[in-house]
């Protein structure tokens, strides 16, 4: 299971991304998700988890040529302040539209989203 935890500050977000050592080669979608969320939302905390292996056998995935299909993202960003759950999800769906659009070659079939503001995240962490 590929997994990285990137507690990044918004100030260093871009610099951190470029210096993070991602597993070589095999994960273009994982890399794109990380980079797009970082540059669009300047998250203070970001975890992208590739759950694809867990779903490899399920109905809709049978016969799929894609390996990067299921992701779980936890994003903490000021960008979510004042937004409803639906608005937060739509914001992320918009940022990752290319990855999610199956009709245009996107491979991401399921995206689990936890989107919180820093204040909300502090509260749940305590």
């Amino acid at each position: 299971m590929f997994r990285s935890v990137l507690p990044v500050t918004s100030r260093f977000a871009r610099a951190t991304m470029s210096s993070v050592a991602l597993p070589q080669g095999a994960q273009p979608v994982y890399t794109a998700i990380n980079q797009k969320l970082v540059s669009a939302l300047a998250p203070s905390f970001l975890v992208v988890r590739d759950d694809s292996r867990l779903h490899a056998g399920h109905a809709a995935m049978r016969g799929s040529p894609h390996r990067e299909t299921h992701f779980d993202v936890t994003v903490v960003s000021d960008a979510f302040a004042g937004k409803t759950l639906i608005q937060r999800h739509r914001l992320i769906y918009g940022i990752l539209a290319e990855e999610l659009n199956e009709q245009q070659g996107g491979t991401v079939h399921a995206l689990t989203i936890t989107a919180k503001t820093p204040a909300e995240f502090d509260r749940t962490a305590k």
Partner: protein
């Protein structure tokens, strides 16, 4: 949280119902027609299904045998909230329905839950609404589950 929930419950009846009646449940149907690869008739039909049923779940598989963990999850959460009957649509039976509902709601993933014509969300959102008690409030406001008093009798 409490005040937001109370406010939500209080305003839902008047504002949301009127708003739901005044505008399409999700995206304007006319706009979707030009953008969607799905036939206008089908989009119309999906829109009508959403409006004509109290609770609609677009899911993979059927409630008795979901074929996706997230679909299973929303069915369980709705049941746990006290709902005994809802309209379920198996999107695995039709690629056109599967794409159509995504186009209609401008929401790229499934399952999708609709209550009284309004898009509520997918598994993550329904799960958070369940935990916060907002799902119960929403269902109670629309008389889709018994009020707490009745339930405890």
């Amino acid at each position: 949280m409490l005040s937001r929930t109370a406010l939500f419950a209080a305003t839902l009846n008047r504002t949301a119902l009127r708003a739901a009646a005044a505008r399409p449940a999700v995206a304007p149907l006319m706009a979707m027609r030009s953008m969607s690869s799905v036939s206008p008739d089908l989009l119309q039909q999906l829109d009508k299904t959403i409006k004509d049923n109290d609770i609609v779940v677009f899911m993979k598989g059927v409630p008795e045998a979901p074929r996706c963990g997230f679909s299973r999850g929303v069915v369980q959460l709705i049941g746990a909230a006290g709902v005994s009957e809802f309209k379920a649509i198996d999107v695995l039976e039709s690629d056109e329905v599967r794409q159509g509902i995504k186009d209609l709601s401008s929401w790229p993933t499934l399952p999708q839950v609709y209550i009284k014509g309004e898009f509520v969300g997918g598994f993550d959102i329904v799960s958070q609404l369940y935990s916060s008690g907002e799902l119960h409030n929403m269902l109670r406001t629309h008389n889709l589950i018994p009020t707490e008093e009745k339930a405890s009798e």
